[in-house]
Symmetry: D2
Subunit: 431 residues, 4 copies
């Protein structure tokens, strides 16, 4: 046991409490035949919670964690603290990038040895922990070698480095029983079109993703391959802009049955969408997978990765998740970072606890709305004409036939109220 969280006890479900406890999240509460833990499938992100130093473009590290540094001993202390936090929060899942968990070596081989040693260390810890691996991923964006891209780099050696790295991370994810493997391409984009061969880079990215899918099948990994869309930052423009863009990309490279989406609230907002839009679209296209439940600030134009705190917004997101059938391999990951002024260990615990509560409230409201059924009844009623005999055949017709019908049998269709405010009021009865 480290002493990092020394004054903090495991969090209990204590609805009325003002202490550090869950007021809404009760993992064992059964909703629609399933425990809340199994619905929400919370994950902690190693990345922001244990690896991020608190820097921003105008300031350096603020956190000064005892495990910051480049040795294997420190990497193991970091792992110890992480699993202590997983226990305090009683979360079923965690996630990592390779670079979060091991020190960078002087060569690919040394980085790989460091990584594999930590993966084994995780393996041992996971034998006595309830916390499982939601997903692993490769950090192909922080080191300067990736500054011009990983798979989309103008230098094929960096493609090779990236491919070898993804292989190692997929192997490790498989070994630890991970439920998904994620790819986020923060540098798979460009800073200026003037030096970019867009077509070539998209081909490289497509082939890289095919390779990951092929390798999944080769090693018998049963989890899902997830792509996480983001429109920009750090790149000026990223090829995985949003769900619709990635869908076209998957279709182009024949991958639409193989790859699902890991959708982040903050990335949706950066792309000009609501979170629920991205969820509904992925669901309608059959590519919904998992979520990162971290919001951006609506007044900031960059990725602030804040813990969620607005229950009505979260309810609308879980409503789409539930309509999509809920999570299978996916879950609710917090790719959230503390504000850089939140220095204390208790801040880290409280931030997650508050977020889990907000999600639990949102989820329960979403479930109640769906159970109530009014929203779906009203939605279906709006489209009822399409379920009539005439509606059904219309889509099989053609312009000339329809035009002839309109000519011979004049229509004068009248608009009907869209009922937006009434629907919003209905939502407000549940959130």
């Amino acid at each position: 046991m480290t002493d990092f969280f020394k004054d903090i006890s495991p969090l209990a479900y204590a609805p009325g409490s003002a202490d550090l406890a869950f007021r809404h999240y009760n993992p064992d509460e059964v909703i629609a035949g399933k425990r809340m833990e199994d619905h929400l499938r919370f994950g902690v992100a190693y990345w922001h919670s244990f690896a991020w130093p608190g820097g921003d473009p105008f300031g350096a590290e603020t956190f000064q964690r005892p495990w910051f540094g480049d040795t294997m001993d420190l990497a193991k202390m970091k792992a110890d603290v992480a699993f202590e936090m997983f226990d305090l929060l009683n979360v079923p899942f965690f996630c990592w990038h390779d670079a979060d968990i091991r020190p960078e070596g002087d060569s690919f081989a040394e980085s790989l040895r460091n990584f594999e040693e930590i993966i084994d260390y995780f393996g041992t810890k996971m034998q006595t922990s309830k916390t499982k691996l939601l997903w692993g991923t490769a950090n192909l964006f922080s080191h300067r070698r990736f500054m011009s891209g990983a798979a989309t780099n103008p230098d094929p050696e960096i493609f090779a480095w990236s491919a070898a790295t993804v292989k190692a991370c997929m192997d490790a994810t498989h070994k630890l029983g991970g439920e998904n493997y994620v790819l986020w391409g923060g540098r798979e984009g460009y800073e200026t079109l003037l030096n970019t061969d867009l077509k070539r880079e998209r081909q490289q990215a497509g082939r890289f993703l095919q390779m990951a899918v092929e390798y999944k099948h080769k090693i018998g990994f049963k989890g899902a391959i997830l792509v996480e869309p983001k429109p920009q930052e750090p790149s000026k423009h990223q090829y995985d802009f949003d769900v619709a863009t990635v869908y076209g990309f998957l279709k182009e490279f024949g991958l639409e049955g193989e790859v699902q989406m890991n959708i982040e609230q903050g990335h949706a907002i950066l792309a000009g969408h609501s979170f629920e839009h991205e969820l509904a679209l992925a669901s309608s296209l059959g590519i919904f997978g998992s979520i990162d439940m971290n919001r951006n600030d609506y007044q900031s134009g960059w990725d602030t990765d804040q813990f969620p705190n607005n229950a009505p917004e979260v309810a609308l997101a879980y409503y789409e998740v539930l309509k999509a059938g809920g999570f299978t391999t996916g879950g609710t990951n917090f790719d959230s970072k503390l504000r850089r002024q939140s220095l204390d260990p208790v801040d880290l615990i409280a931030a997650h606890a508050g977020a889990m509560d907000v999600c639990a409230r949102g989820f329960k409201a979403a479930h109640a709305m769906l159970e109530d059924g009014t929203l779906e009844e009203m939605r279906n009623a709006r489209y009822a004409g399409w379920d009539s005999a005439g509606g059904k055949t219309l889509l099989d017709s053609d312009l000339a036939t329809i035009a002839a019908q309109v000519a011979s049998d004049p229509i004068d269709p009248q608009p009907r109220s869209g009922r937006q405010e009434i629907l919003e009021n209905i939502v407000n009865r549940f959130v």
Copy 2:
């Protein structure tokens, strides 16, 4: 002859002049073996130039044109003035929505009769005019019947109305020898997900577009079918968000060989892209068609549709057009509107003339950059590794093989300068 432009003479090419004249656009100047007119293929939009009254969300009509009103005589006066402007500007093309050119009738049939009469009136005028039809399109968004969508309306009767309208507009475009037919779906989106069946509406939109393509072939229309992406406004969210979104849509509905993009600078900006990004992406996907060269204000979050005035920006756009092989059926349409304070007839002429000059400057700079070749040499040199033997085979390999190579034959790839500022300086030698 109307007297609307009574004090204005046809515009001459007069490079040094401070008068109302072209200083850069010289239609007969030959560049790379083609007349400038045939490269740029300018089009005037009936919509903004003759139909828009100058209103905005906080104010009513400002323009008080003598042809405003609902009679056929006024519609013909509008056509007379329009063709007089085409002559003054010596533009090779114009474009229309059905609703721009004819009064709305009390029924579909009456609207259609009005429309067909004006199409015939156009046909007569075009016999003595050089100005041809770049494209026609149907306005399926202004009338209140379309408030909840056209093809994507919850009411199948409105789908039928829309289909019959598109048929009529395609017939008219074909009859007038139009070179393209455009679909822009301003209401094909939603105001709130709460009342929207996203999946159903996308299916309706997909089928509608298929019907248009089928009808094109049925009537032997040889022009291109163009879709014009826009992310939002008037809808909160539009299904044709941007080029990448439409590409996925075309793949889903098997239309990628049948439909091309009409890309508007302002819509690109609203979607979070640069104009040149959208052009380069469409070109790399093989779906580039035509452009609307009207900019949005970078400080305004809505569609301002201003005439272009920044030659360096325009140069980057034409650079992508030229790299895509230039226009075939497409052209440079100004879907631009006068500022609502620009009341006078001369404002309408001067706005187009200035825009044509800005485009001519941009085009000439783009051509010179391509001719010079430095930009493309530097771009190609950056990716040279991929043209080597090792680079070529890499994409045919797989993760395990690549990882084994990295292990047996260690690499340490070093980043190389992306040269952005130097490339921007090169551009500045030409613009």
Copy 3:
């Protein structure tokens, strides 16, 4: 009685109901010694609810209200319906622009006669209604004569027209016992700096506002003069950008003791601020007056003026209102418009009812947070150093003295956690 709301009964407070009723707003419930109605002071905006036809930049009127038209009889029918709605909703206040309530005449004099007749009609209706006038204002932006500004117009005649209009509106507000008079300068800005004399226009605007203040005193109007900031739209740039900008303007023209702010959530968002920021800033500068509680869509870059529907956000706003001492002459006005698809009379009622409920929830949460006191204790504790002896004298010192102290008595101040997530969790216990 008109029959516009014929099937709708006055709304009751019925917490558990799924019907058209208040579930949270109970006007007579006493909180902190004051009735909820007297805390919240709801107002209905004539403008959006009765005068707006449902148009947008791409579409025409959708609402087709029976009172639309230009006659005095229709204006009176509109007033009848409005007061019927005030009664159904049991709201204590309403607001108007002159142009909302009377038909435009062919001359200033005729418009004024129309206006005065309606004001008298209002006066009669108000004798038997509980609904009072929160504020009146002049519409100096819709008519084409104001296209280049009202007070800031390049044409002094339009300044004169505007001044005479404001006089009439202030007289009418005074006559009806209005509690405030509002100025919003939607056209007091510019479309392009190229034709604008910024300095001159700001002087005109300053003098105009002084005239309004002088006239208030001349006629003995005891209400507040309120300015409503907005950054842009319809203008590209408006002189009353935000609270901080208006504060500087008031200081420049010696008006900071005379004018307060009417702050709108949507305008705050357009200006890049949170609503609570604008409220807190106005309060700290002593210029807080009233609010317009209509939100903008976070994904749309224009003024969507939607009814509020997010209770946690609304709670943070009322928290600032309560910290500022609550409303005096001000209130909670809904400058909200129905979505243009919400065609039915019941939509109008339900939209207001839902918004009033959201406000009531937010207000009660805000009051509970303030009562609880934890947030303010934590805030005060954070600044406790400034209340120590050393802290107090520091601001009276000077750079040289402080530098000498730092040299002679070295310090090494350590950062302390800002506790953002914990504070957000506290808020979530109440919302």
Copy 4:
């Protein structure tokens, strides 16, 4: 001599050249009686060019400059390289933050000793260099002690540390003959209102700025005190949001005659303004001082600090500078950073050279437009009514009098064209 720029020669003015040279900037060319160098007064920012490592929120250092590190020897090597670059570019000015030029010590005293030693080193170098100090400033935002603000910190000890730092920086600026002293308050704002006492923090900021002004007079510094507005980033909200906000702040604290603005293009854009708006506003308020000529990307929501590359935009900025009378103590500073992929020494030189050329083009165009006079004639003509007898007396009148005149002597003012497109065409004749 270091060998950092070993292959690069001093840049010559060589208009037709494709080499590394100036094609537009000719320092000795006389325009309106003054050398171009004396008009433009270019400055190089030590901060971005020599201290920034090339990191971003998702990636670490890319540049690996030989002077990176924490020793005084490296700090001197950095100074040597910087002055070599000043010579190559032949720039008349440079700027620094204290933290750019000296290693942080273990105490305030040690940091101060390091700083003073480098200042002396600069002093020696400046004896043989033409490059003078445009301004100095204190970095009160990067170190973790400033994470919650400098002057506005909840901890008075950090106020004291900041005050002592500013004293040292003002002393050094004075000693080196600096022409201005700048304050930018990147952390003078907040992350969340929940932990912020806005009123108290603004008082602290106001007093801090007063202290700086008082100290300027005490030591006889003749340069200007400049405040650099920015709306946000790194703070969620910064108190110095924009020019209008700072003006109100100066009025509140009695500083409007003492402090001027240092306006940055990118900050203007982040605040929702055009650069020329901020310049015109500062000029009209009498507080224009200096500029940072670095642009933001219009598609990115954060501070990208790119070198300027769009001559027409730059021309509009210098037009406002010239209308304000040109620079006195101020100048054109490039607070620009290389893209993090621009690794090579030549990138640093080329970026500045290209930017200087763009500014020279813009400046010459601005001067020509002003000389031509058409724009100003048209602007003045637009307001001519205000220079008539009636216009002049109108502002001295009052609402009642004006209303009486409008009643007795009816007016019907007609809108006149704002001529925006024609004005834009005129600009395009010069840029």
